[in-house]
Amino acid sequence: MSAVFEYPTSALEIARAVRAGEVRAREVVEAALERIASFDGALHCFLTVTADAALAAADAVDAVVAAGGDPGPLAGVPLALKDNLCTRGVPTTAGSRILEGWVPPYDATVVKVVAAAGAVAVGKTNLDEFAMGSSTENSAYGVTHNPWDPNRVPGGSSGGSAASVAAGLVPLALGSDTGGSVRQPASLCGVVGVKPTYGLVSRYGLIAFASSLDQIGPFAATVADAAALLDVIAGHDPADSTSLEVGLEPVSRQLEAGVAGLRVGVISDFLVDASPSCVAAVRAAAEVLSRAGAVVEEVAIPALMLGLSAYYLVAPAEASSNLARYDGVRYGLRVDGPDAAQMNARSRSKGFGPEVKRRIMLGTYVLSAGYYDAYYGQAQRVRTLVARGFGEAYEHFDVLIGPTSPTVAFEIGAKTQDPLAMYLSDLYTIPTNLAGHPAVSVPFSLSEGLPVGVQVLAPTLGEGPMFRAAAVIEHGADPGARGPIEPRLAGAVR
């Protein structure tokens, strides 16, 4: 390692140094693998570490640099992939027993795209089974520990990705956000987490949970790093029919534009039940924006509070169909039975965990003949109401802000026996998914040593103003509230 180069450091600094030939990608990746080896035994962010492939990819980047070629904007940047993104030749479990040992024969589009940009995937991160959960405790492969406090959850479902960035194992990670699964763990781990506009990032190769809500998004320690990764993964993909054909002006270039004159609405409905520290963070962030020249006002959007109940009908309905294919016939776990139906039932009974089963049953029920209109049909109408509520607000505001999560990271086991309490973790993130909008969680302050994130929400393709506001909030935030940190490990003195 070059004397001047410290790891962890930001993705943009790594890419700059690698491109300039100041450090070799191999050195960076070795440093990342070393840090993973040091800390991940305790944290359990990763389900699979692909050291050999990562070193080979790093060497390829170095070879391009040596040859005077362009190694891409993320040259040599170690990156973690949530284990619901398909990786050719690398086991992909979605956190489920039912996919234990399954090795995809293909790469997700984002996996190809980040590799083409020079990023080096170092492994696959832990998640709630099939991305269903808010704590990563629903993983079939054990819980991930929050680097800020090993007794607490990292949030979820993309807990492994969030924690890996917070602990400085990697500067960048990808997650997926169906109801808050990037933003909520980002908030709980003190990192930036982005849920892009639906259709901005290809879903091809993302193991589906709820197709109309799923969207892949970046984790990073800084807004600028998150913007750089978003700029790489955004773009039309003909393999995803829901992929948008319109482009997005790169957000990286807009970060310095400031918020003078930007109309910011503070969602008052989100301040009623959130914990005092989360409310205080939002109010302080509003003040930061206001001082930077934004026009800040409170706004009530009551329809948003209907989102949670609609989400828990729509998402399970789609999930019940998306997860039907895990039937023991073609891949994954098979438990034999006297006939196909029995084999199917036994494989699914053994392969799925309780939360996944709960949602499959719920989803199957709400789509059933005679119940469809009362539940699924009604939920779709509520979804329209949520979108309309946002739409009216965005006639007056460019972006909205609110808490990302109602609370800071909670203790492992605190909510596992109470699914409804767990579901409430996503109360403020879900409406964004229902509307297909973008949102970002930015680390802002500490509450009793735990990070608190502030959420910036924007209308469809409003990532530009959203990132401008996020950059200003980051600038005014407590620098001690964000990763990377030296992880606090179990047994250490707190």
Binding site: P105, S321, S368, Y372
Partner: protein
């Protein structure tokens, strides 16, 4: 029981057909795998059509165009449509749901005119994907008693259009006629090869009976596994008779799905209404609504050639110009295979239309792909040679076979094959030789045994190696007898 028997006792059979048609696109409906029949199992597959985790469908624009052609040919309204998921578990369905269309299909309404003039309404013709194919090994070859099953996913994701008729069909004969006509339309629009034996067309029949004059329909059964026109006709007759038997004995017909067993010639219950799947349809979130523009619809309509019924009429007029009615079967075959342009071109070039139709509907029909590629002028020339007696029927068929194989001019092929027409003296000598060689048969012929004429004709054909014109031989024999 025959239709006439049941009709005489006051029963009416009511049939509606659901026909699944495999589109002859190059690739599958949602991926770029080949849409091909007969490949090694599980070779035409990819993450999408295997339903691997994370894969997503992308709609084949060609399949949509084909569906629009079909709808336009059926007189349907081509509308904005939405894909739905039809959810049920089955091992040959990779995703355990089928992407189909539900309450917003691409084609709505329309009709088919049968050969007898009956109009059968079309309810809808929607796009959906095919499933894989399961082979049950051991037991009776059915899923419930098989030892194990093998699944071939080559067919999974092949584009289908399901054409649903109104319950306007009233007999087995009409049911067959409907499928025949539909098949001809599909072939004519270039959307399907129409091969029932390869499963390109698969028919489910909704069958019920009622007292003639009743306004209400009876309870129907849905009969599956009808793999041929013959199966369809037999199943309609069987099922109508079975239901009439139940009703005449005072029973009630159960609404259920039944399986046609071709060997046993009967249907058996597959599942009752209570056991019917709840498909839990909902909008397919991985696809966007399909909204064809008015220009696209108009372009499809404009590109559509004349349909089979119109083409049969045109051909029939050409052939019947000689005063006799045109053979209906030959018309249907030739139009069905798209050979009517060949016949019309031959007639236009001065060949005998009736003879051209006969050759096209027999020899040419055996090799339709080659026949459609025939040079119409050469075909016309062949028909003229035969009509002029320069080629015997046997010779003409041999020349046509050679033309289908390698192309070429019929006169040159005839020369190469040694098919110089016999001169009259040679022909007379051959006939006399045959008479002399078979005195007993000649006596019987002279006494009026017409059947023996074929024997004598055969003898002449053998001695001339098929070069003799059959009609001329018959005329000579007749002349010799008198």
């Amino acid at each position: 029981m025959t239709e006439n028997g049941s009709a005489a006792r006051g029963w009416e059979t009511v049939v509606g057909l659901e026909v699944h048609c495999e589109l002859s696109t190059v690739t599958k409906l949602f991926c770029s795998c080949p849409n091909a029949f007969g490949s090694e199992p599980n070779t035409n597959v990819c993450p999408v059509c295997l339903g691997l985790p994370g894969s997503l469908p992308v709609l084949n624009a060609r399949a949509v165009e084909f569906a629009m052609r079909i709808g336009t040919a059926l007189g349907s309204s081509v509308e904005a449509s939405v894909f739905h998921r039809k959810n049920y578990f089955y091992p040959d369905m990779p995703k355990d749901y089928q992407i189909s269309q539900y309450d917003a299909p691409i084609n709505v309404g329309g009709h088919i005119e049968l050969a007898d003039g009956t109009l059968v309404g079309i309810v809808r013709a929607h796009i959906e994907e095919d499933t894989g194919k399961t082979t049950h090994v051991g037991g009776g070859g059915r899923i419930h008693d098989a030892d194990y099953s093998l699944v071939d996913y080559n067919r999974a994701g092949v584009p289908l259009v399901e054409i649903v008729s109104a319950p306007d069909i009233r007999s087995a004969e009409q049911a067959r006629s409907y499928v025949t006509e539909l098949r001809a339309i599909l072939v004519a629009t270039g959307t399907s090869d129409g091969r029932m034996e390869e499963g390109s067309l698969r028919v489910d029949a909704n069958i019920s009976v009622r007292r003639a004059g009743d306004a209400e329909y009876g309870t129907r059964s849905e009969v599956k596994n009808l793999n041929s026109l013959r199966s369809l006709g037999r199943a309609v007759d069987y099922e109508a008779a079975r239901q009439i038997g139940i009703l005449e004995a005072g029973g009630t017909v159960a609404q259920e799905t039944r399986h046609w067993n071709e060997e046993e010639g009967r249907t058996s219950s597959l599942r009752s209404k209570e056991e019917a799947y709840d498909y839990r349809y909902f909008t397919e979130p991985d696809l966007v609504p399909l909204v064809p523009s008015a220009e696209e619809v108009a372009a499809v309509a404009a590109a559509l050639g004349p349909l089979p019924a119109a083409r049969r009429h045109r051909l029939a007029e050409l052939v019947a110009a000689d005063g006799a009615p045109a053979p209906v079967d030959q018309l249907a075959t030739v139009v069905g295979l798209g050979l009517d342009d060949l016949v019309a071109a031959a007639a236009g070039a001065g060949a005998d239309a009736r003879l051209a139709l006969a050759r096209a509907s027999n020899e040419a029909a055996n090799r339709p792909d080659e026949a459609r590629a025939l040079d119409p002028a050469a075909f016309a020339e062949l028909v003229k040679l035969e009509a002029a007696g320069k080629l015997s029927a046997t010779q003409s068929k041999s020349v046509l076979a050679a033309m289908l194989e390698d192309g070429g001019e019929p006169a040159q092929i005839a020369t190469r094959l040694g098919f110089e027409a016999l001169d009259p003296a040679e022909l007379e000598a051959a006939v006399d030789a045959a008479i002399a060689a078979h005195p007993a048969e000649w006596d019987r012929y002279r006494q009026g045994d017409a059947k023996v004429a074929q024997f004598l004709l055969g003898a002449v054909m053998r001695s001339t190696r098929g070069r003799a014109n059959g009609k001329a031989v018959a005329a000579l024999l007749e002349a010799r007898r008198n």
